[in-house]
Point group: C2
C-alpha cells in the first residue's frame, strides 16, 4: 500500500506500542558497560527506547531530517502576535536560504532541513527561490480562518493536513531517514497551540497561554480572550484531535500531528520541539495514544504551557535552556545528546572487554 | 615566562575578570539575529560569554580537549567506595584504549582525550600500554594518605598538584586548544570532593555527601563519619583552597583546580563536569574568585551536593540528565550545546540580511 492511498483509520490501526523485550535486552547491555550501574542516567533511557523502536541492539540515528511545517493563521486578526503576518513567508525564504536558527543547529547534527508550505498566505515564487528539495508546497489553503468566530478549517482540510504530514514524513523514511525532528513556522501559532493544549489537557487558559514571540500585557489579554471565544464558539471535542484541529488548530500543527503518526506507524523515533510541535503531539495522541512510545521531547520551552502539555503526554524534555524559538531548534540540539546516548550503548566497552573489576560484593 | 617557571602567586595575580564590553557587543549582535529577542535563551548567554573570554565577535571553540585527571585515595581504607581501588588504574588503561564513556562522548564533539596520572597507586607499564600522547604521567605521589587520620598530602604536594594541572593545561592551550574540559578518575574521590565542598561552601554533610558510585546505607554512614573525622582532625581553612587540598583533597582534584586556573589565566573557556571537577573549581575559586568568569558547568550531577556547589559558585549547569559518571562525560555533551550556541552567534542571518520584518511597534 503506498502512503498516498492510506486512510487515517489505517494509520491509527497501524500504530503499535514499542516492543518492551528489546528495551529490556538493551538495558541488559547497559548493565554490562564499564561504569557504575546506569551512571549516564537519562542517556540510557534514550538509547534503550531507540533500541525498542528499531528492534535492534545496534541502533542507528545517523540519517536525520527536520520537517519545518509552515502555515498562516486567521486568528492574527485578533491582535495576538508581536510580529506581522508577512514574517511567516519571509521566514520560509530564510529557511530555504539557510540563515535561520534551525538551519544552523540542524547542520551541527548533520540533519537535513525540509520546509513544507502547509498553508501560508503568500504564493511563493518557486523559480525565483530556487528552493530545490528544500521546500515542499502542499498548501491545504492559504491560511486558516479566524477561529474566534468559527472553525479554523473544514473537517476535510483537517484530515488533509494530517495525511499530508504523514505522507511527507513517510517519503523521508522511505529515503532512509532514521530519525525525524518536527519544526514549525507560523506567525500567531502559539494561539491555536494554546487552544489545543487547553482543550485536550483540560487546563486553564492562565496555565496554557503565554506571550509567544513576545506580546505585551494587552496582547496577552487579547490572546486569552480570542482563545476563550474560540473554544466557546466551536466547542471542540477534547477526545478527538481531528475535531480539535478543525475548530481551533492550524495547518502546520495538523501536519506535525501527521509526522508524529508516521513515526509511530513506521517505527521511527520522532523528536518534537517546543510548544507548537507538542500541540501537534497532543492531536496525534488523541488519535493513537501509543505515539508517545516513539516521541522524544527535545526541550522544555519558556512558553509556560509547554511543561503542562509534556506532563500530560508523560514526556520528559531532554533539554531545558529557556528557549522559545520553535522551528525545530530544541529538537536539533537534543539530537546531539541522543547521538551520544546511542554511541554509548553501541561503542562503550563492557567490564569484561576492558578487564575492569566489578562492584565489591 | 614559560609555564614551568611560573609561581602560584603569579598565576593568581594573572587571573582577571572577563571584559564585559565584548559580552555587550556580542549581545548587540544577538539582538539583530532573525528571531524574537533572545529566543534561544541560555545559548545566547553561553556564546556571549565566550565572546567576552576570547575578546572577539567571531569566537571559535572548534579545537577541544579533555584532561582526565586520575588519582588514588588513602581514604578508601575507611570503606567509602563501592568499587575496589584497582579500578582507578584499570580505568586509566580503558581511557587509553578508547573504551570509556568519555572517549565515546568526546569523539562526538571531536575533542581529544588526554589522561593524566596525577597520583594513582600503580606504576603503569608505559611500553606495554603504547599510550603515546594519550597519557601523561606526572605522579605527585602514589595515592594520598587517609585524610580521616591526618592531612591527605603535604603542602608541597598540594602546590605541585595545582601547578602540574596548570602546566599541562597550558601546554594544550599553547598547542591551539580553544576549549578545555576537565574530567576525573579516582576510586573514592567523591569523599574528598564532598569534604572540600562541605568545608568551602560551609554546608552540612547531609547536604553534601552522596553515594558516589553507589555505596549502600552503611557505606554512606562510614563515608560521612570519615569526612567528619577528617575535617575535625585537620581543621582546613575554608578560605584557602591550598590548605583544603592539603588536608582533605586529592591529587587529581588539585590538578583540576590547576586546569581551571590555567583557563582563566590564558583566557580560555573551561567546561567542568560533575562533583569532582566542581570540587576542583571550589579550590580554584578560593585562590582566584574570577575563575568563574571562564567556567561553564556542563551538567548537574545526581550526586546531591553538586547543585549546592554550583549554586555557591554562581554557575548554572547546561544539562541535567541524572548523570553521575564523571570522567568529563557531562562536559563533553555540553560542548555540543556550546558549539551550537557559537554557530548561532556567528552564522545565523540578521533581520536585515534575511529581509524579514521586525516586531510590530
Amino acid at each position: 500500500m503506498t502512503s498516498e492511498k492510506i486512510s487515517l483509520k489505517q494509520i491509527i490501526d497501524g500504530v503499535q506500542p514499542v516492543d518492551r523485550s528489546w528495551v529490556e535486552k538493551a538495558a541488559e547491555r547497559t548493565a554490562r558497560l564499564v561504569m557504575p550501574p546506569r551512571a549516564l542516567g537519562r542517556l540510557h533511557d534514550v538509547s534503550e527506547r531507540i533500541c525498542g523502536i528499531q528492534q535492534t541492539l545496534i541502533p542507528s540515528i545517523h540519517r536525520k531530517a527536520f520537517l519545518v511545517m509552515a502555515g498562516d493563521h486567521g486568528i492574527v486578526a485578533e491582535g495576538v502576535s508581536a510580529y506581522p503576518q508577512e514574517v511567516t513567508g519571509e521566514m520560509v525564504k530564510t529557511f530555504i536560504n539557510g540563515g535561520a536558527g534551525i538551519n544552523i543547529l540542524a547542520a551541527q547534527v548533520d540533519a537535513e532541513v525540509v520546509v513544507v508550505d502547509m498553508g501560508i498566505k503568500p504564493q511563493l515564487d518557486l523559480q525565483a527561490l530556487n528552493a530545490g528539495d528544500r521546500l515542499i508546497v502542499r498548501k491545504v489553503a492559504g491560511g486558516t480562518a479566524n477561529f474566534s468566530r468559527g472553525p479554523a478549517m473544514s473537517e476535510r482540510e483537517a484530515e488533509a493536513a494530517v495525511l499530508t504530514g504523514f505522507q511527507i514524513a513517510t517519503e523521508l523514511f522511505e529515503k532512509g531517514i532514521q530519525i525525524l525532528g518536527t519544526g514549525d513556522m507560523g506567525i500567531g501559532n502559539t494561539t491555536p497551540s494554546a487552544a489545543i493544549g487547553a482543550v485536550i489537557v483540560g487546563s486553564s487558559l492562565d496555565e496554557m497561554v503565554g506571550r509567544g514571540t513576545g506580546v505585551d500585557d494587552e496582547g496577552l489579554t487579547r490572546k486569552k480572550d480570542a482563545i476563550r471565544r474560540g473554544i466557546e464558539t466551536n466547542r471542540p471535542d477534547p477526545g478527538n484531535g481531528l475535531d480539535v484541529l478543525t475548530k481551533v488548530g492550524g495547518f502546520e500543527i495538523g501536519g506535525i500531528a501527521g509526522c508524529i503518526l508516521a513515526g509511530a506507524f513506521h517505527r521511527r523515533p520522532v523528536v518534537i520541539d517546543g510548544f507548537i510541535s507538542t500541540a501537534g503531539a497532543l492531536l496525534a495522541y488523541t488519535l493513537a495514544p501509543d505515539v508517545t512510545d516513539y516521541l522524544f521531547a527535545g526541550h522544555c520551552s519558556e512558553e509556560p504551557g509547554h511543561r503542562v502539555m509534556l506532563n500530560y503526554l508523560g514526556l520528559r524534555p531532554i533539554l531545558d535552556l529557556e528557549m522559545r524559538l520553535g522551528e525545530g531548534t530544541g529538537g536539533a540540539l537534543a539530537m546531539g545528546i541522543m547521538d551520544g546516548a546511542v554511541q554509548i550503548l553501541k561503542n562503550m566497552a563492557t567490564f569484561e572487554e576492558a578487564g575492569v573489576s566489578e562492584k565489591q560484593p
